[in-house]
């Protein structure tokens, strides 16, 4: 493997690597806009300039292949001056609208300006006027004046999605990103273009104008939108989660994630959540603390089991962590001696489908984990069996570990109609479900925590175990399935909150101190 010296440090890199990859390996600072590790090399921003010993001209690090013994630096006066000018060329026609720009706080131009800039601009001419607020499609808005034409988004639609919606139109400093006639940017991965846009040119319709990024905290977790289990970052504050972005994971999702996966944050927020325990008995609805609701449900389940060992069943979905699944299935099959556990597959027709990139038909993060738990317990019940027993009235009490994200369960209403044939329905779910409020059945609803509020493990379609940590707490009263399992069997459970409820970031540097602007 060739060795290269970068800013005085020696590093060994793989044969055929580029100099910029060597910089990344060393975690050395290098400015760049057009280069992205998941895309082809464009070599157009001309910012990743390096001085290679023995070369009179500066080279771009992104298109220079490492050769053994190469000595490279990007901290000499010559390079810094070049980068400063390279940055200035990017800025001369860039609008000074940071205060109203969504990218502010995570903008490549701001970052490099702090590193190389802090000078008085020499540009005294009028800036080029271009289109503002261009609707590129259902998810993305373009501001052409902010665009630095790095071509990352164009290359993304060419190389990753191969949908080719975007192009650069016109020439010179009149160049603009755009879509072709009647062909909007409308693919399942379109929002990746917003992530890779180094400036505020492409913004997400979902996120724009909703939060300033420096008031958001970020934490690592995985996407629970399908069985791929992409590595993601979730951005949140005390009000809830605001957006999800992909995190690099070479084994699973590379640099990308799908647009549907980005919506997972929406079902953790208060407006769609079940906030307290609910009891519906004899047509009367009553709110009560979740622990009490679970305890009451537990009493019913245990009483019914005593009356008829076959009168109770549990329906599981692949939506919960391995630990939770083990604990609830274990409680039923072991402690309560009830082996009538069924696996609810939400979309049988498309369950095994795959879009070729990331999105899978199995919209559950832990189907593999659930299957293993059922296997370990030697449970092998068919859905037809459950259906028959529900319709015949053989099962009178049903516990359902219901989906966190109901929008991924197109058969939800149909299933609720089926489940409501029982006398007692125990509904464990993070999501609010108004259909349950009018049933002619006794219903106990217990609010659950969502994936960002609890720690645990998910097993993706590859069988890869992915542990996640609790990020924040949104509904304080919500329980984990493990806690519910304990309460159902009648144990005393000490309910704790793992994640600290986030308080406001009121001591933000920017709001508390006037900087040297």
């Amino acid at each position: 493997m060739p060795k290269i010296t970068i800013n005085g440090q020696e590093v060994e890199v793989e044969e055929g690597s580029t100099v910029i990859e060597a910089y990344k390996k060393l975690d050395e600072n290098i400015a760049h806009y057009c280069w992205h590790p998941g895309l082809s090399i464009a070599g157009v921003c001309r910012l990743c300039m390096v001085e290679v010993e023995g070369h009179p001209r500066l080279q771009i690090a992104c298109n220079t292949t490492v050769q053994d013994g190469m000595v490279v630096n990007n901290n000499s006066e010559k390079v810094r001056d070049t980068v400063k000018w390279g940055l200035d060329f990017h800025l001369i026609n860039h609008p000074l609208d940071c205060p109203i720009c969504d990218q502010a706080g995570e903008c490549g131009l701001q970052e490099q300006y702090m590193e190389y800039g802090k000078y008085d601009p020499e540009m005294a001419e009028r800036k080029v006027k271009k289109r503002k607020v261009v609707d590129l499609g259902p998810t993305v808005v373009l501001d052409s004046e902010r665009c630095i034409l790095c071509s990352r988004c164009v290359r993304f639609t060419e190389e990753v999605t191969e949908t080719n919606e975007l192009g650069i139109f016109n020439r010179g400093d009149r160049s603009e990103i755009g879509t072709f006639k009647d062909k909007p940017l409308d693919n399942k991965y379109s929002l990746n273009t917003v992530d890779i846009c180094p400036v505020g040119a492409l913004t997400s319709k979902d996120f724009r104008f909703r939060q300033r990024v420096w008031y958001l905290k970020e934490a690592d977790t995985i996407c629970t939108g399908c069985s791929t289990g992409c590595s993601v970052k979730v951005y949140y504050n005390e009000e809830g989660a605001w957006r999800v972005k992909p995190r690099h994971n070479p084994d699973i999702n590379g640099y990308w994630m799908c647009d549907e996966g980005r919506d997972v944050y929406k079902f953790v927020n208060k407006d769609v959540r079940l906030l307290t325990g609910l009891q519906r008995k004899d047509g009367q609805n009553q709110e009560l603390p979740s622990v009490d609701a679970a305890k009451l449900a537990g009493t019913v389940v245990r009483d019914e089991l005593e009356k008829d060992k076959n009168g109770v069943a549990l329906v599981m979905t692949g939506q919960f962590t391995v630990e939770e699944t083990q604990s609830l299935v274990g409680t039923f099959a072991g402690d309560l001696g009830c082996k009538q556990v069924y696996h609810w597959i939400n979309n049988e027709d498309s369950f095994d489908s795959f879009d070729g990139l990331l999105l899978r038909g199995d919209r559950n993060p832990n189907t593999k984990g659930l299957e293993k738990v059922l296997n370990d317990q030697a449970i092998n019940n068919t859905w037809a069996d459950l259906k028959q027993k529900l319709e015949s009235g053989a099962i009178k009490t049903l516990v359902v570990a219901a989906p966190e994200n109901p929008s991924l369960f197109p058969d939800l209403d149909e299933k609720i109609a089926l489940f409501s044939k029982v006398q007692n329905l125990v509904w464990l779910s993070a999501a609010k479900n108004e259909a349950l409020d009018g049933l002619n059945t006794n219903v106990w609803q217990v609010p659950l925590k969502t994936f960002i509020e609890k720690s645990g493990t998910y097993v993706n379609f590859q069988g890869k175990e992915q542990p996640v940590k609790a990020v924040t707490t949104i509904i304080e009263d919500a329980l984990t399935l493990t806690e519910v399992a304990g309460l159902l069997k009648g144990s005393d459970v000490n309910v704790t909150d793992e994640a600290q409820k986030m308080t406001s970031l009121k001591y933000n540097y920017f709001t508390q101190k006037r900087g040297n602007l």
């Binding site: 157009v44 001309r46 300039m49 000018w85």
Partner: protein, 426 residues
């Protein structure tokens, strides 16, 4: 008496030379027959030995370029760069209009030498007459058996086509031309890989100028030594110069490389009576301008002009007399490069626009004194920073105009009017 040395342009004035019959009568396609009997490597060696350098602008040795092709059986392409776009250049146009078969013969010989089964002549969109002439000549060559399968019984197959550009300057850059030919937006490609290794459709490709390919015929006809008798040691052969601007008889002339610039001006009738020489752009609008002192020393070959800080380029010699305002001329040049920058690389995309605006501000009388130094600063930071040479092509005239005619720029800023032409406040 200063005279031309005519190799390529010998029969330009004979209208018969355009058609295949007239061309054959004057010795056409004889060299092709001889060449097809030669060893391919021998042809390449002969071209190398002749010292022929690319006539399109860069002046890269042609034989060396051919030598970069991989030594394998991969399909390779020969592209003729007839996208003559450098302001001031019109030599290729004349050749295609008056002697298209001479180009085609040179191309077939070159294609044979590099073993290419297919070639294209990429002609700029505005050159209707050239496109017509070349298409007709190719058709004639096919009918006469000089193109197609088994040319003259040699076993060598070759097809040739004309590809019409849309008039973008950047498509004259070899990788920009390849992009355009591939049906993509005409934008230069990142190098490496170089076209000789990975060019048109990802295959090894040689791109040569019209004049270069036509010259190959004469090198094979007369031999490298005879060709070297013309010109200087390092700049061998004759060169077509497009002389324009303030001379009495602007035209294309063919002279040996190394001719003094002042002789070239005389060959074109000299200046108009009463005018004095002020400056010369010796190699197309991207070449740094020469002032009168430079002009007296200048010889028209690659090395002498490089010594003076300029370049031979495509041989477009623009003569500027004392009736012209240099600020005006630079404003026109900057407008051109701003219009033609493809917009890929930031320093060029933004720099050409910035320079254009600054120079126009000065030319409108709105300039500030610091703008003059700013032109140099911006231009210096555009040089050597981009994928292709367009950025340098815009920067070089800017720096040279400002450094050599600073007084005119300063006058314009101070007085708000041209030092030469006067103006509103004059």
């Amino acid at each position: 008496m200063i005279t031309e040395t005519k190799l390529l342009s010998e029969h330009y004035d004979n209208p018969e030379f355009k058609g295949i019959e007239g061309y054959k009568k004057l010795g056409g396609y004889k060299v092709l027959g001889d060449a097809l009997k030669m060893d391919k490597q021998k042809i390449i060696d002969e071209v190398k030995a002749s010292g022929l350098r690319g006539r399109g602008g860069a002046g890269f040795p042609t034989g060396v370029k051919w030598g970069f092709l991989p030594k394998n059986d991969e399909t390779r392409y020969l592209l003729c760069n007839a996208d003559e776009g450098e302001p001031g250049t019109f030599k290729d146009r004349k050749m295609m209009e008056r002697a298209p078969h001479q180009l085609i013969e040179g191309m077939i010989i070159s294609a044979f030498a590099i073993n290419s089964p297919k070639s294209y002549i990429y002609i700029r969109g505005e050159y209707d007459s050239c496109i017509e002439a070349c298409e007709k000549a190719i058709e004639e060559a096919y009918k006469a058996g000089y193109l197609g399968k088994n040319i003259l019984g040699s076993g060598f197959d070759h097809d040739m086509d004309v590809y019409r550009g849309a008039g973008a300057y950047i498509c004259g850059e070899e990788t920009g031309m390849i992009s355009s030919l591939e049906g993509k937006k005409g934008q230069p490609k990142l190098k490496p890989p170089f076209p000789a290794v990975q060019g048109y459709l990802g295959k090894p490709t040689i791109v040569n100028n019209v004049e270069t390919l036509a010259a190959v015929k004469y090198i094979i006809r007369d031999g490298a030594d005879a060709y070297r008798k013309h010109g200087t040691e390092k700049s061998a052969g004759t060169k077509l110069f497009s002389v324009s601007g303030n001379v009495q008889d602007p035209k294309t002339v063919e002279v040996p490389l190394g001719m003094p610039l002042m002789d070239l001006i005389e060959l074109c009738g000299g200046l108009k009576p009463g005018r004095k020489l002020k400056a010369v752009i010796p190699g197309g609008s991207s070449a740094p301008v020469l002032n009168v002192e430079d002009c007296a020393k200048a010889k028209m070959d690659y090395e002498s002009l490089a010594e003076l800080g300029s370049m031979l380029g495509s041989g477009a010699v623009i003569i500027i007399d004392d009736s012209n305002c240099m600020v005006d001329i630079l404003a026109t040049i900057m407008h051109f490069y701003h219009h033609e920058s493809c917009g890929q690389c930031t320093p060029c995309r933004e720099g050409t626009g910035w320079l254009n605006k600054i120079v126009h501000s000065i030319a409108k009388g709105d300039g500030r004194l610091q703008d003059i130094d700013l032109i140099t600063k911006v231009a210096e930071h555009m040089m050597g920073r981009t994928i292709c040479a367009l950025s340098d092509a815009a920067a070089l005239p800017a720096t040279s105009f400002v450094s050599k005619f600073r007084d005119e720029f300063e006058f314009f800023v101070r007085e708000g009017r041209s030092k030469v032409k006067g103006g509103l406040n004059a």
